[in-house]
């Protein structure tokens, strides 16, 4: 299979991020219930945000596929 270019990875991640941390997706987690002692929405947003940063870190460190 053809490898996805770095730039294309970034577009995919960007779109994914915008969808996952945006309306209407966030509605799923927009509840005042507590998970592990934290409000679900609070947990979702902060963990989601942290994962986003982690993704950027991984992709900048190891390239998007067009570099060996």
């Amino acid at each position: 299979m053809k490898r996805i270019k770095e730039k294309e990875w970034w577009v995919i991640l960007f779109i994914l991020g915008v969808i996952v941390l945006n309306y209407p997706f966030i509605v799923i987690f927009n509840k005042t219930i507590f998970v592990f002692g934290y409000p679900l929405f609070f947990l979702y947003i902060y963990v989601g945000w942290a994962i986003s940063i982690l993704m950027i870190f991984i992709f900048t460190q190891f390239g998007g596929g067009d570099r060996r």
Binding site: E6, K7, W10, V11, L13, F14, G17, V18, L21, N22, Y23, P24, I26, V27, N30, K31, T32, F34, F36, G37, Y38, P39, F41, F42, I45, Y46, W49, A50, S52, I53, I56, F57, T60
Partner: protein, 1213 residues
């Protein structure tokens, strides 16, 4: 409270420390080192995004609106995902164009429009003022809070400014900005000190916030979950834990804020300045992609905790904006309070410094500079501008301060920040459409920005002023002019949106709509097309090449003039460096006499360099007006190759069309090569020049034999002039120059040419403005030139000239072909003439020869007739004399006396001698006439010798002589004529007897073979006679000669014997020679061919064949009439008859006549299969000798063939 009393001192100390850092940064820079060229500093400096609004405002926002602050940072994180194709591209473009700010960036994209730059600058100052005010407000408020904690707080907003700390801080920060943000006019030279200080401040604020976060969460409360759990007890806090319902952000707001912040994090003036202008490399950007979001995450991590803690600790919700500071204060933690204050202070000051520097750059470059430059003062502008810039920093800071005074404390921090974000949002369509969609044009961008900005002003900015300006209250509540659909907060009856979403939606929608639709409707200007391409395709080279073909400079300024001009902006040293760089890059040594294309490049270089100081829009305007004053115009010019170069970037279809055109051209060039007629070539060539170059005039000039160049074909020139003109060897005509130097010459503007052209006007009288001359070169030497003339100035691109030279070469090739062909024709003709001449000559000669031959033949005939007559007429009486004398001597007539007998015997002897003489003469003449025929046969030598001896023995008479035959002791056979050999022996023996008085005559024989394998008998006849003197040796074989005249008388003989002997020997193919010593003796040697079995058979066959020669016919097959005629002449002269044959008739002819030989053209024989077959099939022809006629050597061949036949005939007949 002791520590807090040091507050002003501490603040000052912190500021001093900032100055020190900035100073160190700049010092390092001067040493050539860089402290900011690393991803951590770059990421930290990007955190200038987090201002006091973040530091204090986020907590305030959470306690009022829940998670509303989050999308502002999540949006910025998402933006990082796009850096590799947004920010990276913007950085690259910006570096390429030396842009100085976001306003400069956008205006450069739209044709370096000064209007757009000025508009954006003003708009941004408006948009950012609230933001600046917000920072000042934060600083003032927190300072006041600390200073008067526990006492009655002062109302800073209504205080006189000289009592206000904020005022002094504003001034100090202005000084900082002026010192470190406006050190130099050239903004593309980075402000390392400033950036380093900003990065340091980012560290401070993060540290401070984390301190207070940890303190609140883990020291006051038992962890994050503890705070959240405690908060959830209160319904009003619990409802902040989710979004979608008031007071938390709605879903629209959430989405809009993400969009807003993603754009703001790149386009805010300070973000653009730090992220783009001060960027130190792509590598840093890559690391910043995750470091910067990580920073945002960390600095926001404790926001909900602090906000909820503040409420739980019983603080008033109205003070939520300062919970961060107030919590440590109420808990009595002075040190932490100070840390927090410094953190907040650094957040505010960082933003203030960068923002004011960025804005002042815009103001100076896009508003002040164009104005000042137009004043045309003689001042050093660089000095003036840098100080004006510093002043502007202060002014902006103070404007912010007064805005803060006016708006006062009516708004909470976050609202002001968001308002600025929305203003910046209006730049997004122009920026992002600009770098991705080539069609976006200036009108579209301008319309979008203006409309977007007006909507922003109407729906967001104006409503924020209602408290200060009561008049606006009515507009906001009832709509403009009371029109309800114009109500700012629910425009066009769209009333489900909050104020932010409403403003963002309408402003952005109308902005994009205008930008797109106007861009589609209106066309782009030329300059815009170029910059648009360079932005969208981000290819420096494309831009340059486009500029090359579309623009052209008339009378460019001199080096000195440029230097003076540049010195005004950058100082003399920098100006010299800038210009030197240009000459160095182009490898030019001579500073003057640039070609107009180089002058154009220089102009672009200067514009670009100047752009770094005053922005590209201003730079272009200033340079244009400078050139205008100078009288220099930048004119668009026509170039046929423009569309070629553009087509490379255009669609495939356009390219296909162009390829088609080029292939048409190619086929016409092919046509050039298809003909070999020079005139036709010239006709085709001039048509190609006319059609393909589309110039008013073109011509083909060829070198004549007299060494002058003359126009052979032309279009568009005066006919009479073209006919009359001849270019001689002169350096002062372009035609001759191009011809001699074998180089193409292009004059783009005659006014600036070294000398005027020889032809100064076209056929229609228009003066010539530009020209191009290309030499026609073939295999290194020029044949002539082709030239193009134009009545307008024209830029000749390299591509164009290459193509032009290519056409010239093609014409040259064709002409050379034609010339070669013509020369070949002439050579052929010459050759033909020569052959004809020779033929006539030869015919004449052969006629003479024939005449001479006929004469000779006649003479020969006469001689033969004479001789035979003589022999008959002489012999008959002689024979009678001898006969009668013998009759008398025999006594038939009666007895005779002794004396009568003696007399009669004398008569008989003399008569016999006479008869012998006559016979000898007849023999000799017969030999010489070639009429002597040999009857060659196998002869036994001993038999001949025996017979010869018997004949000569009577001659010995009384002499004491004996003949010894040593040759006959073995059996030897010779191939010879018996009688002639006998004659030879008789001659030699009688000769020997004659000259030898006593002794012996010895006959001997030796055999030796020759090279060909033929064996020869060398026969010798030796005597012991008087001998022959050396000088006479070579004379003895001559006719009628004896060694001494007297000897004939003494020894008798005719003197013809040896002569006849020699000829007889030679007729047999042998040789004869003599060795002699006076008074000792003489030896004659002669050679004769030996007979052998092997030799015997073919010899006989050949003899038979040759015997029939004279009667027979030669068959000749030769297609060349001339050769045929010559051969005919030769062979008929030799007595042959001739039959012409070919492959068809040879068979029939051979039936009727038996040829003696076949003479056939070698090539015909090789190629004519039928002829070969016919010869091979026919019994007669098969055995007939076959000779080939070679066209090159037929004369010699024929002579050889004939002579060998003749010789054979003579020899063997």
């Amino acid at each position: 409270m002791r520590l807090l009393s040091f507050l002003p001192f501490l603040t000052l100390l912190y500021l001093m420390f900032l100055f020190l850092i900035a100073y160190l940064g700049d010092k390092y820079k001067e040493k050539g080192k860089s402290l900011i060229k690393n991803p951590i500093v770059y990421s930290l400096s990007l955190a200038v995004y987090c201002t006091a609004w973040t530091f204090y405002g986020s907590v305030g926002l959470f306690s009022h609106n829940g998670f509303e602050y989050i999308p502002i940072y999540i949006g910025a994180t998402f933006a990082a995902f796009t850096y590799s194709f947004t920010l990276k591209k913007i950085i690259n473009i910006s570096k390429n164009h030396n842009t100085t700010s976001i306003a400069d960036f956008i205006s450069t994209r739209y044709g370096k429009s000064g209007n757009i730059a000025a508009l954006i600058s003003i708009m941004l100052v408006f948009g950012m003022l609230p933001y600046i005010a917000l920072q000042l407000k934060a600083v003032t408020n927190t300072l006041e809070l600390l200073y008067s904690f526990g006492e009655h707080p002062r109302k800073t907003a209504i205080m006189e400014f000289y009592h206000d700390y904020a005022f002094y801080i504003a001034v100090i920060l202005s000084i900082f900005g002026a010192l470190f943000g406006a050190r130099k006019l050239d903004v593309t030279e980075r402000h390392e000190g400033m950036v380093l200080a900003i990065a340091f401040e980012a560290l401070v604020k993060l540290f401070a916030f984390l301190c207070v976060g940890v303190y609140v969460t883990y020291f006051i409360f038992n962890g994050y979950d503890d705070i959240l759990r405690q908060g959830s007890v209160f319904e009003e806090i619990k409802q902040l834990y989710k979004i979608g319902e008031y007071p938390a952000p709605t879903y629209y707001q959430w989405a809009n804020l993400i969009l807003l912040s993603a754009i703001a994090v790149m386009l805010l003036p300070r973000q653009f300045h730090i992220g783009v202008i001060e960027n130190t490399g792509e590598k840093n950007l890559k690391k910043a992609m995750f470091l910067f979001p990580l920073y945002l995450f960390l600095i926001n991590f404790f926001v909900p905790a602090i906000a909820i803690a503040g409420r739980l600790l019983g603080l008033s919700p109205a003070d939520a904006d300062i919970y961060v500071l107030k919590i440590p204060l109420i808990r009595g933690n002075e040190i932490l309070s100070l840390i927090v204050f410094i953190g907040g202070f650094s957040a505010a000051t960082g933003m203030l410094i960068v923002e004011t520097v960025a804005l002042s750059t815009m103001i100076i470059n896009h508003i002040v500079s164009p104005f000042i430059v137009n004043l045309k003062t003689g001042l050093d502008l660089s000095f003036l501008l840098i100080h004006l810039k510093r002043l502007t920093i202060l002014l902006i800071m103070l404007l912010g301060y007064f805005y803060f005074k006016v708006i006062g404390e009516t708004k909470i921090l976050v609202d002001i920040g968001l308002m600025s974000f929305c203003a910046v949002l209006q730049l997004a369509p122009a920026t992002f459409l600009g770098i991705y969609w080539e069609r976006t044009n200036k009108i579209g961008a301008l319309a979008g920005i203006v409309v977007g900005f007006l909507v922003w002003f109407y729906t967001l900015f104006m409503p924020s002023l209602t408290d200060a300006i009561p008049f606006l209250q009515g507009v906001v509540e009832k709509g403009l002019f009371g029109l309800e659909f114009l109500k700012p907060k629910s425009l066009f009856y769209l009333d489900i949106l909050d104020i932010w979403s409403n403003s963002i939606f309408w402003s952005l929608f109308l902005n994009i709509f205008c930008a797109v639709s106007f861009s589609i409707i209106f066309p782009k200007s030329k300059t815009e097309q170029e910059t648009a391409k360079s932005f969208v395709f981000l290819d420096k080279k494309d831009k340059e090449s486009l500029a090359e073909v579309t623009e052209y400079m008339s009378s460019p300024p001199s080096y000195q003039e440029y230097l003076d001009f540049l010195s005004k902006f950058m100082g003399r040293d920098k100006a010299i460096k800038t210009l030197e760089l240009f000459y160095e890059n182009l490898g030019l040594k001579n500073k003057e006499n640039l070609t107009s294309h180089q002058a154009f490049l220089l102009r672009n270089h200067i514009e670009k360099s100047l752009a770094a100081y005053i922005g590209s829009a201003t730079s272009k305007n200033i340079l244009d007006s400078f050139l205008k004053i100078h009288g220099t115009k930048v004119v668009e010019i026509f170039s046929i190759f423009k569309d070629v170069s553009e087509s490379l970037k255009d669609s495939r279809e356009t390219l296909a069309i162009r390829v088609k055109e080029l292939s048409l051209l190619y086929s016409s060039l092919q046509r050039l090569l298809s003909t070999i007629d020079e005139n036709e070539i010239l006709d085709i060539a001039i048509n190609i020049l006319e059609k393909n170059f589309n110039m008013p005039a073109c011509a083909i000039v060829i070198m004549d034999k007299d060494g002058k160049l003359r126009i052979r074909r032309q279009k568009g020139l005066d006919d009479e002039l073209a006919k009359g003109i001849a270019f001689e060897n002169s350096k002062l005509t372009y035609v001759w120059q191009a011809f001699e130097s074998k180089k193409i010459i292009a004059i783009e503007d005659i006014e600036h040419a070294p000398f005027p052209p020889k032809i100064s006007s076209l056929g229609n009288g228009k003066p010539i403005q530009s020209l191009a001359v290309a030499p026609i070169i073939v295999t290194g030497s020029p044949l002539g030139v082709i030239f193009l003339l134009n009545d307008t100035k024209q830029f000749f691109s390299e591509q164009f000239l290459n193509f032009f030279q290519g056409i010239a070469n093609q014409i040259g090739l064709s002409l050379k072909n034609a010339q070669l062909y013509a020369e070949l024709g002439m050579l052929n003709k010459e050759l033909e003439n020569k052959v004809a001449e020779r033929t006539i000559e030869l015919r004449n000669k052969s006629q003479l020869l024939e005449e001479a031959y006929n004469n000779l033949k006649e003479v020969d005939k006469l001689k033969t007739q004479f001789l035979s007559t003589m022999s008959h007429e002489l012999r008959t009486p002689l024979n009678s004399i001898i006969g009668y004398t013998q009759l008398i001597l025999d006594g038939v007539e009666g007895d005779i006396s002794e004396s009568q007998r003696e007399d009669l015997e004398r008569i008989e002897r003399n008569a016999k001698h006479l008869l012998q003489l006559i016979n000898d003469i007849l023999d000799l003449s017969k030999i010489e006439a070639g009429r002597m025929q040999l009857n060659i046969e196998r002869v036994e030598l001993s038999e001949v010798i025996k017979q010869s001896i018997s004949i000569v023995t009577p001659l010995i008479g009384s002499k004491n002589l004996k003949i010894v035959d040593n040759a006959s002791n073995r059996s030897l056979f010779l191939m010879c004529d018996f009688q002639r050999l006998e004659q030879i022996f008789i001659n030699l023996l009688s000769n020997a007897i004659k000259f030898t008085d006593e002794g012996s005559i010895v006959i001997d024989c030796k055999i030796n073979p020759d090279d060909t394998g033929q064996s020869w008998a060398t026969i010798s006849v030796s005597d012991t006679g008087i001998g022959i003197s050396a000088e006479n040796l070579d004379k003895i074989f001559e006719a009628f000669r004896q060694v001494e005249e007297s000897s004939t008388r003494k020894h008798g003989g005719t003197g013809l014997g040896l002569s006849i002997t020699k000829r007889l020997v030679e007729m047999h193919g042998g040789a004869i020679w003599v060795e002699s010593q006076m008074n000792k003796g003489t030896t004659f040697y002669f050679t004769m061919p030996m007979a052998s079995e092997a030799y015997f058979k073919p010899y006989v066959k050949e003899v038979r064949l040759i015997q029939s020669v004279e009667k027979d016919t030669i068959f000749i097959c030769e297609p060349n009439e001339f050769i045929l005629q010559t051969i005919y002449d030769y062979v008929t002269k030799e007595g042959f008859s001739v039959e012409y044959v070919d492959s068809l008739n040879i068979f029939d002819k051979a039936k009727m006549i038996k040829p003696v030989m076949l003479l056939i053209n070698k090539e015909v024989y090789k190629e004519d299969d039928m002829l070969r077959e016919n010869i091979a099939k026919n019994e007669v022809l098969k055995s007939t000798p076959l000779f080939f006629i070679d066209e090159n050597s037929y004369k010699d061949d024929i002579l050889n063939i004939i002579s060998s036949f003749k010789k054979g005939k003579d020899s063997y007949e």
